[in-house]
Amino acid sequence: MNETLRFIDPNILASITSMELRARAVVEGFLSGLHKSPFKGFSVEFAEYRLYTPGDDPRHIDWKVYARTDRFYVKEFEEETNLACHLLLDLSRSMTYSSGGLRKLDYAGYLAASLAYLMARQRDAVGLFTFGDEIVDYVPAKVRTGHLHTVLNTLSAIQPVQRTDLGKPLHTLAEALQKKGMLILISDLLDDPEKIIESLEHFRFLGHDVLVFHVLDPAELTFPFHSTTRFVGLEDEGSLMAVPENVRAAYLERLKAHIRRLRSGCGVNHIDYTVLDTSKPLDFALQAWLATRAGKM
């Protein structure tokens, strides 16, 4: 691993106690690893003048125009230049699974924190939804100084909740979000792919750009078990005594079909879909986000 990227190793990150420090380590490490930043700075850009009306903030009066015209004009800026981005973090119990490294929930938390940090650094408004069956916590998207701290604090305190019906909270979110923006869904997506795609289509219908990070444990991706094992569901799905060798092929086939379905569903709806392995560094996710972000500018 590149020296600069070692801070992005999820296992090293786990040893850092502060969520902000973790996010900074990821992002700074990530950015310093880039040879040349492909991204321009996003400053506030002038849009037009309008007559001052009582109640406007006097700081926005353009005194040079007043000197020329003797009228109070207020500068208006294009607000859209700052992206409103909402992180949707799945807190379901299935996210607590770990085959030895980081839990999926922790990995997702680090990813969300890193993205939030990166967004804040680029002066994008960042918001956070955590959800289980319903929305657990909500931090609205803002650019204000200190807001990042709120987001990171919320991420530090996340706890798993009971079984997730992924479709329901996503539809609720879609209804709640009035402004168009970018939505980043971080989840293991262990639900009916049709329902998931339907809810994602809902976002798209409302004009949101959607980015999906499908977080999976390496054991879920390879099913490396050997001895006869009793598999017990984390969300009360039941249990199964099985010889891994006997069920591995079918399991992997089903998993691939699931991913294929999600990928195709997302592709059709112009949704960026990325599968993340919790044993891999976070830079891959950050790159994916930046690529998507660049496409939106």
Binding site: S94, M95, T96, Y97, K104, D188, L190, L216, D217, E220, F225, H226, S227, T228, T229, R230, F231, V232, G233, L234, E235, E237, G238, L240, M241, A242, V243, P244, E245, N246, V247, A250, Y251, R254, L255, H258
Partner: protein, 684 residues
């Protein structure tokens, strides 16, 4: 199937349960994983099929079998033959019974006790069992030869097994029955010995008897306690110009039998009578009768007789004799080391024979000059330290002996063992091994121990008034191995190597002294016993036509050769019955009664005195420890039902021959291979 170490079967059983226990213990300890992606696992068709369970059970079975096979191999299995397996299940036995009817069985209650013991042995048998009966002391010992058991067997045996006056040979009986049982198809084999176990029935041999049939031995002594007996153990007849007759009386029960009357009968008339009184600690007495004249020039017969109130054994109360006027014995002395003076090999022998010059005619020669055709002109040939002779001379010597001649061999330092054994194989009672010349204690030497006091040669030396051999010392001698038919008469103390041995070869006899006749290896020539020993050996070796008038019951009478085809030899037995035999009959073997046998042929008359073995009346018995020292067997030995020796597993020999453990081990290896392959295929 049987096992040498059946304990390992138990260990194998315990070992075989280990995989099952491990299986049971670990069965409920499967790995549990809390898994997130259950939706991809549930509702699979074959999460864990029955086939997998079956494979696991098969694997378990392989492991159990492998451990069981290991124990099985250590248990060392062996298979009895198929017939054994079939018959064994039926519980059939092959039983050999040695039933003693020798003279000593007439004493006390021995006879009734033996019938009781026989009845108890036979009552334990059943249909399908096989029986052989050896009558110890009978002229034809094998009474029943592997016949099926029947209810009439007891009556049959008792009616046919008449008591005899012979001595028995239990060793011969054991050997014969053991040889029979070796080939038995029945796995249960037993030998019962019903006897008083009198020592006279156990001839001393240099070989330890080893039984091979693995038959369980049951010793059934039938005597209650030593019987009370007074016996005549030896007699001395008047020599030339002597008028003294003597005999030795042995009282085995001096506390119970004190007064003994002894009478001397000559030619049917009582010639003398004496009363004896034994003190409580006095067991032998020498009785002399003097002043009884012999009829000049004639052979005479007679007997000593004793009467003692309380005497329980009658056969040894009479001792028959024949008093003969013998012609002189012609002796050929072959000198192997001729030299001047006392260094000559025959220096002492020559002088010994000279003392009785009227009885012996001597001729001396050397191995080089001896004429083979002249052997037959002599009665006895003495080879004194003779290294060997050429084959023509040896063949002539062999023919001489087989035709009745006597041969006396006294090997010394000139003899080579290998050459000797080559020349004298089949002739000599002993084959020579090596000279015993290590650790010679010149001050002590080896004493000569008489083994068979009843032998006619020894009787002469140990007769009342005779010197005996106790003073003689032997410093060097040839160690020898007894040959079949050899009779050890005297041995040397220490290792009990033979000193004097005899053997019958054809019609002749061979004697062997294991040291020479001079003083080079022993001081015997300087002792009083030398002269009578040398002379009595020569007398005994002379051809049967003039010798063997003193016989034991059962010993044959050599018949004279008559010239006419129709001429008959008439033998009158002690009970006055007569036997008429043809001239070409060589032997009369039915000397079953003690007494005087009279032979008439071609106008001539000859007498033979037949007596029972003097040891038969001696209440001296074989003990279990004596038995163990003499008989070697791996099978069980019981005395009156009590275990004397536990039997070692009978299948040792079969197991070592069959080596089934190798097959079992190969099976084990195959099982382990199968287990290894199967274990890789079957998921844990």
């Amino acid at each position: 199937m049987d096992f040498i170490n059946p304990t390992f079967l138990g260990i194998a059983a315990i070992g075989a349960t280990l995989p099952i226990l491990i299986h049971l213990i670990w069965r409920n300890k499967t790995v549990r994983i809390d898994f997130a992606a259950m939706r991809f696992l549930l509702n699979q068709h074959k999460p864990m099929t029955r086939w997998l369970r079956l494979k696991q059970l098969l694997l378990l079975l392989l492991r159990v079998l492998a451990l069981a096979m290991l124990g099985f191999a250590f248990a060392r299995p062996w298979l009895p033959s198929r017939s054994d397996m079939v018959l064994w299940k039926k519980g059939n036995r092959e039983v050999g019974i040695i039933y003693d009817i020798s003279a000593s069985m007439r004493a006390g209650n021995n006879r009734s006790g033996s019938v009781r013991a026989l009845r108890s042995v036979l009552s334990g048998m059943k249909n399908g069992d096989v029986v052989s009966v050896y009558l110890n002391g009978a002229p034809e010992p094998l009474l029943i030869d592997r016949e099926p058991w029947s209810a009439d067997l007891l009556r049959d045996i008792v009616s046919r097994a008449k008591p005899t006056q012979r001595s028995g040979n239990l060793i011969a009986g054991l050997r014969l029955l053991d040889d029979q049982l070796v080939t038995s198809e029945l796995a249960q084999r037993e030998i019962y010995i019903i006897s008083d176990f009198q020592k006279n029935n156990w001839p001393v041999e240099n070989l330890r008897l080893e039984l091979h049939s693995k038959a369980a031995l049951h010793l059934l002594p039938v005597r209650d306690e030593p019987w009370k007996n007074v016996a005549i153990t030896g007699i001395a007849l008047p020599q030339r110009n002597s008028r003294t007759w003597s005999c030795r009386i042995r009282n085995d029960s001096p506390e119970d039998i004190r007064r003994v009357t002894i009478s001397l009968y000559v030619d049917g008339r009582r010639a003398a009578r004496k009363q004896l009184v034994f003190e409580p600690d006095e067991t032998t007495k020498l009785v002399r009768f003097s002043g009884i004249s012999m009829r000049p020039g004639q052979n005479q017969t007679g007997y000593f007789s004793i009467t003692a109130p309380g005497d329980e054994f009658e056969p040894d109360d009479k001792r028959y004799f024949v008093l003969r006027r013998d012609r002189s014995v012609s002796v050929l002395l072959v000198n192997g080391e001729k030299s001047a003076g006392a260094g000559d090999e025959l220096f002492f022998a020559r002088r010994a024979f000279a003392t009785s010059s009227s009885d012996f005619r001597l001729q001396e020669t050397t191995p080089e000059t001896v004429q083979p055709a002249r052997f037959r002109a002599y009665d006895v040939v003495i080879l004194a330290n003779v290294k060997g002779m050429n084959s023509r001379k040896m063949n002539a010597l062999r023919a001489f002996v087989e035709n009745g001649g006597g041969l006396f061999i006294a090997p010394g330092d000139r003899v080579d063992a290998a050459l000797f054994n080559k020349f004298f194989a089949g002739l000599s009672p002993l084959l020579l091994r090596k000279k015993a010349e290590e650790n010679i204690d010149l001050a002590r030497g080896h004493a000569v121990l008489v083994q068979d006091f009843s032998h006619p040669v020894i009787e002469t030396i140990s007769a009342p008034g005779s010197p005996g051999m106790g003073a003689a010392r032997v410093y060097q001698y040839w160690q020898g191995t007894a040959q079949p038919g050899a009779q050890m008469v005297a041995v040397l103390d220490g290792d009990h190597d033979p000193a004097l041995a005899f053997k019958n070869v054809g019609r002749g006899k061979v004697a062997l002294l294991t040291f020479p006749l001079d003083v080079e290896w022993s001081n015997l020539p300087l002792k009083p016993s030398y002269l009578p020993l040398l002379l009595s050996i020569s007398q005994w070796l002379k051809p049967a036509r003039d010798a063997a008038d003193a016989l034991r019951v059962g010993e044959p009478i050599f018949l004279p050769r008559v010239s006419g085809r129709n001429e008959r030899v008439v033998l009158t037995l002690p009970d006055e019955s007569t036997e008429r035999m043809r001239g070409d009959d060589e032997l009369f073997t039915a000397t079953e009664q003690a007494g005087i046998y009279t032979l008439r042929f071609a106008g001539r008359t000859r007498h033979f005195a037949v007596n029972i073995h003097p040891g038969e009346g001696q209440p001296d018995f074989f003990t279990p420890s004596d038995f163990n020292a003499l008989v070697q067997t791996h099978a069980e030995v019981r005395v009156q039902g009590e275990v004397l020796q536990a039997g070692s597993p009978g299948g040792m020999e079969a197991e070592s021959r069959q080596k089934l453990w190798r097959i079992v081990l190969m099976l084990l290896i195959a099982l382990l291979l199968a287990e290894a392959i199967w274990a890789n295929r079957v998921p844990r």
